[in-house]
Amino acid sequence: MRNLSFVSLLFLLLVTGCSSLKPAGLKPCRTTDTTGIIGKSPFTGTYEKMLFRAAMDIRDQRLTGLILVKKTSDTVTHVFFSNEIGMTYFDFIMKDDGFIPEYCFEPMNKKALIGIFRTCFELMLDYNIGEDGRKFYCDRSTGAVVVSGTSGRYKTWSGRSSETGSIFINGKTNFSDKTFISFSNFTAGVPSSVIIENPFINLKMQLQMISF
């Protein structure tokens, strides 16, 4: 039984470990032109309040409802998720110096899961790559520039898909919070559709903007 658990864990690590943050088909490239390079989230520094229609699939569970993102001060942002009937799933507080689960519905109130949500929302809302240590890569077929580096505590890759026009941000602090975010359907630079995925726990969040 212990062997079976070990093999299952190993298999899980292999499967999730194989999903690389680095997009496929890239080669290192030198670029001096940084216009159009995706070095920050489309939401970074742009919003006061955003309301999304949300569907969250975690393994075989599906939670739906509304996600409200609201700045309550210059340094504090609430990420609030409730179902349609109004019951709160979570209320997270993002601060410059940390992440506080103000409330989390008991079955979801697990440190590891909250850590994964932290990565999802910090990358989605605050991703901003520093100039130090960033590296540029070019897509072998389209020439599109992808940048890798660090944003806060995250190792990241970001760029624009030349096929769909969507912006992607891939980031992680460790193998379990490896996160892939895609922003699409832009109006005046603001995406109305966001998809967040974490393959380690089979999490997929689909956010559709209702108001900005």
Binding site: R62, T64, G86, Y103, E106, I210
Partner: protein
């Protein structure tokens, strides 16, 4: 002149307080309300109503409002059909919950989803009157207001206590049906559901409680 103005101001200020005032019920009145609710539940085989739902959150100045249609059929069939701001249907058919959002239809057992399991108990329990006789799970207190009999329920079970602080039910003084459900969370955030245009014992097809 000063005195009469003071009296007028005092009277004007007192009016809203007088209307919203609630007084605790004595034992005889509690028995009367319980009996009324039980009898109403016995003579009600179906309910069709409109509803308005408002969510009050400490981090948001304005309320989040949604509206829709509500269907109940004895013993445990319920259909919540949200029409605004977006379409969403929740069907409770005995212990099975089916949720249809814009993308997916999801079905699960109420025992596997604690949130909806508890909400199911509250809504069905308040309509059937069983919630008032559940001392293991709720501590109840009864009040009288000019508009309704008010019953406050404080959850005692650990599962419900972790998310809900209090449930307040407003029963119509004439027919003892539920007019208003208030769910106050531990964070102080509140969801208020108000039922309107209630129709009792009209035929409701079983198909209303099936989603494919």
């Amino acid at each position: 002149m000063k005195i009469s103005l003071s009296i007028i101001v005092f009277c004007l200020l007192s009016i809203p307080g007088a209307f919203s005032q609630t007084t605790p019920l004595d034992a005889a009145s509690i028995a009367r309300v319980k009996k009324g609710v039980e009898e109403a539940a016995l003579r009600t085989s179906t309910i069709v109503a409109g509803f308005t739902q408002e969510k009050e959150m400490s981090i948001l100045e304005e309320k989040m409002r949604s509206t829709g249609r509500f269907y109940f059929k004895k013993d445990k069939q319920l259909r919540w059909e949200y029409t605004k701001p977006y379409s969403y249907i929740i069907i409770i058919n005995n212990d099975r919950i089916t949720i249809k959002d814009e993308q997916k239809t999801n079905s699960f057992d109420t025992r596997s989803n604690k949130v909806f399991g508890e909400i199911n108990k509250i809504i069905v329990g308040s309509i059937r009157g069983t919630l008032l006789n559940d001392p293991q799970n709720f501590r109840t207190s009864y009040y009288n207001s000019s508009a309704a009999w008010i019953v406050k329920l404080v959850p005692l079970s650990a599962a419900l206590k972790s998310s809900l602080k209090e449930i307040t039910l407003h029963f119509d003084k004439k027919d003892f049906s539920v007019n208003r459900v208030e769910m106050t969370e531990n964070t102080g955030d509140k969801t208020v559901i108000i039922f309107t245009d209630k129709k009792f014992n009209q035929p409701v097809a079983n198909e209303k409680f099936i989603l494919r």
